[in-house]
């Protein structure tokens, strides 16, 4: 190809100073970076200057081979969707630089993520995640998810590690590598990626082999995340059964078992299409192999139990230790509804009484003891921009100071090929063969069209 598209090509090292390495995955590596001094200041969607960046570097598919192997579908999805989407609760893409056979996606930096926050709380015993913070996180998470779903995007990989928090308490849904448009898919969603969603957050319909799944799978994951925020450990921590060969997707008995230990084995009266699930037959055996499944804890008992073990106060609560209000339990129950058709949607969830209740916690700071019914009857507060503003900073009045993200300064070499910063010419070296036989090329579709 002509390289005229590259005459204004930006080079990663001209614009960013890498501070250090953040993390790595199958896709490549993520670095923290700052703008080079003297370079124009990048602005975020709110017009505020962006101070730090997270640069996600996709390596070429094959390790060590310095040639173009085609960009992975996951990287293509992430590039295209991040370019297309814009929402306060979605990670902000600053730019994409294609250089030296690598893709650099430059994002606005977020200081924290939910996994790291949860980890901090588990290593500081008896410090639960404050109820106000939990409510704000949930509201922002649902706002971002509602935006995705309204734009026909399934995230398909929601989990604490993929949910970022800026230092000003704004939730940012990240990692759209598994996300995809679901409006009128060309093929059954199942045929594309046989396995989606990290096992602990995988919805029961996926575990039961559903071929056509819906935005409801993201809401299940949100439920698992909510449970994890309250209990500070993965809610359903199942063992993943490994794929046998490339074709066979095994039944995830362990994961389904963990879910059933809390919620019980799904029954047809709560999930009418249950028996249509490909792995329906496997459920019968579950009662025998997972003892807890036939005598489930039940969500309410689970909730009360984890509220105790997480350190929420049962009496003399402060703002930092008051347990979440009971409406939160109801929201969780609706998020973790077995039947995907009955599971609460992102839009319904945003309007849930949990968010309009006068207080985030079951023990309001005012003296008057609240009954759930009276607090949930407070009108209007749960709707519109008022609510969004109220929940915009999840760190508001939170007494904890979370440590910044770990950045290793040892590896700050983002460059791949220092020697060739310029793109070679794609059109180069193409030797033309003699003109093809004209008669071969004729009589095709267009010829017919023309004659018609």
């Amino acid at each position: 190809m002509s390289m005229s598209g590259y005459t204004t090509q930006r080079h990663i090292n001209d614009h960013y100073d890498v501070v250090g390495f953040i993390s790595s995955g199958t896709y490549g590596r993520v670095y923290k970076a700052k703008s080079k001094p003297g370079r124009p200041v990048q602005q975020g969607p709110t017009g505020k200057p962006i101070e730090a960046f997270a640069i996600k570097k996709f390596k070429p598919d094959k390790e060590g081979e310095l040639q173009y192997t085609g960009i992975s579908q996951s990287a293509i999805r992430e590039m295209a969707l991040c370019t297309e989407l814009s929402h306060p609760n979605l990670i902000t893409l600053v730019e994409i630089i294609l250089e030296s056979k690598c893709i650099f996606m430059v994002f606005e930096y977020a200081e924290h993520d939910l996994l790291q926050i949860i980890h901090w709380h588990t290593t500081h015993p008896r410090t639960p995640i404050p109820a106000t913070m939990l409510r704000s996180i949930m509201h922002q998470l649902l706002s971002g998810l509602l935006y995705l779903h309204r734009n026909w995007v399934l995230h398909r990989d929601l989990k604490p590690a993929n949910i970022m928090i800026t230092s000003s308490g704004c939730i940012k849904i990240g990692d759209l590598g598994l996300a995809r448009l679901f409006h009128a898919p060309l093929a059954a969603l199942f045929s594309g990626d046989k396995v989606v969603v990290t096992i602990w957050y995988r919805a029961p319909e996926l575990l039961l082999g559903s071929r056509h799944y819906t935005p409801a799978i993201d809401l299940w994951a949100v439920g698992c995340i909510m449970g994890e925020l309250v209990s500070q450990r993965p809610m359903f921590k199942g063992e993943e059964a490994k794929m046998e060969g490339k074709k066979l997707v095994p039944f995830q008995r362990g994961q389904m078992g963990r879910i059933c230990e809390v919620l019980g084995i799904p029954k047809r009266d709560e999930w009418p299409l249950l028996s249509a699930m490909p792995e329906f037959g496997q459920l019968q055996g579950l009662a025998g192999s997972v003892p807890g499944a036939s005598r489930p804890v039940g969500l309410e008992k689970w909730w009360d139990g984890v509220c105790r073990t997480s350190g929420y106060a049962s009496a003399n609560a402060t703002a930092a230790t008051a347990p979440p209000n009971r409406e939160g339990l109801d929201l969780l129950r609706r998020l973790l509804t077995f039947d995907p058709l009955q599971r609460i949607t992102a839009e319904q969830a945003q309007g849930h009484p949990y968010f309009s209740a006068a207080s985030a916690s079951a023990v309001p700071s005012s003296a008057s003891a609240s009954t759930p019914t009276s607090t949930s009857a407070v009108p209007a507060a749960g709707n519109g921009t008022h609510a969004a503003a109220e929940f915009a900073n999840c760190f508001l009045n939170v007494p904890h100071t979370y440590p910044p993200r770990k950045v290793s300064a040892e590896d700050n070499d983002i460059r791949v090929l220092s020697a060739t910063n310029s793109m070679p010419n794609t059109g180069a070296g193409i030797k033309r063969s003699a003109l093809p036989d004209e008669s071969l090329a004729r009589g095709g579709a267009l010829k017919r069209v023309k004659e018609g």
Binding site: G5, Y68, N151, L446, V449
Partner: protein, 302 residues
């Protein structure tokens, strides 16, 4: 995006006025004056028809969906608004556009299979190394600024067809007209719903069940006949002819006047399409193929 076209990158960055398109063309011309003079090409729409035909052949060979091909064609169209075609290998660009479009439309094809099929379809491709496609993919994404999500008119057609009780033949004709519109500047100028409404309008005006047109692409329709039908239809719109003339058409016209759809855009799109079919009458594959071969032979991509 899918829910809100008006917020999409297509609406914000890849929709132009006629004047803007002319300006871009002029810029390309000025930057490549010698090249363009040295290697004359058939007019843009004929070239587009040729490229689309080539894409269709590849699509049939590989059993690809229409929508992936439409996406690939728009990528090619967008690319050539920024890069002079004579500096490129159009067969490589088409191969790459299909490769990328298949990933975007969630029906990915392996890069080596892509190369093998394209090389079999086009001896002109002249490439035996799949990394060339990978390299071209970088250039394509970079030139398109990673704005790869597209809004096609097909969905609006499907949504609106019942409103106008369109017959299967009319729907399939409207579908063909949408396919054809990718050969004009329309996909770079108007929102997809304008194109869909235009296609519906034309399909109903052309009355395929009366003419047996459904056996062919809309491109097969005689331009004169379209013109005749069109004049009739336009006179209905302008009110000089009674609406009872054609019940279905009447309903459509009524709907158009009641909706707040940009009628000016629909009318100019209609004219653009009629003009395309006139140009199509004079289409022949050979001059396009040869003209491309001439600049490719001289290896201008170097």
């Amino acid at each position: 995006m899918a829910a809100n076209y008006w917020d999409s990158t297509q609406a914000r960055y890849w929709t132009f006025t006629k004047e803007e398109l002319k300006e871009m063309e002029l810029q390309l011309f000025q930057a490549n004056r010698n090249l363009i003079t040295k290697y004359p090409l058939p007019e843009q729409r004929l070239l587009n028809i040729f490229l689309q035909g080539q894409l269709l052949k590849l699509g049939r060979r590989m059993n690809l969906r229409q929508q992936a091909l439409a996406t690939a064609q728009v990528y090619v169209r967008r690319f050539y608004t920024k890069v002079e075609i004579r500096k490129t290998n159009p067969y490589l660009l088409m191969t790459t556009a299909v490769y990328l479009a298949c990933k975007m439309e969630e029906s990915p094809v392996h890069i080596r299979l892509m190369l093998a099929e394209a090389a079999r379809q086009w001896p002109e491709l002249g490439i035996n190394d799949s990394s060339k496609i990978g390299e071209c993919e970088f250039a394509l994404i970079s030139t398109l600024q990673a704005r790869l999500v597209l809004h096609h008119p097909y969905r609006t057609l499907t949504d609106l067809a019942p409103t106008f009780s369109m017959s299967t033949e009319e729907i399939s004709l409207a579908h063909s007209i949408i396919n054809d519109h990718y050969n004009t500047d329309l996909p770079l100028m108007h929102p997809p719903h304008i194109i869909a409404v235009t296609a519906i309008f034309l399909a109903i005006v052309l009355r395929p069940n009366q003419t047996g047109l459904q056996q062919h692409s809309a491109g097969a329709a005689s331009a004169e006949r379209i013109q005749a039908n069109m004049n009739q239809a336009l006179s209905i719109i302008s009110g000089t002819m009674g609406k009872q003339h054609h019940a279905k058409l009447g309903r459509l016209v009524e709907w158009l006047t009641e909706s707040d759809i940009n009628m000016e855009a629909v009318i100019s799109s209609t004219q653009e399409l009629i003009s395309l079919y006139e140009v199509w009458e004079g289409y022949s594959e050979r001059p396009c193929k040869e003209a491309i071969s001439r600049f490719m032979k001289d290896g201008l991509g170097k």
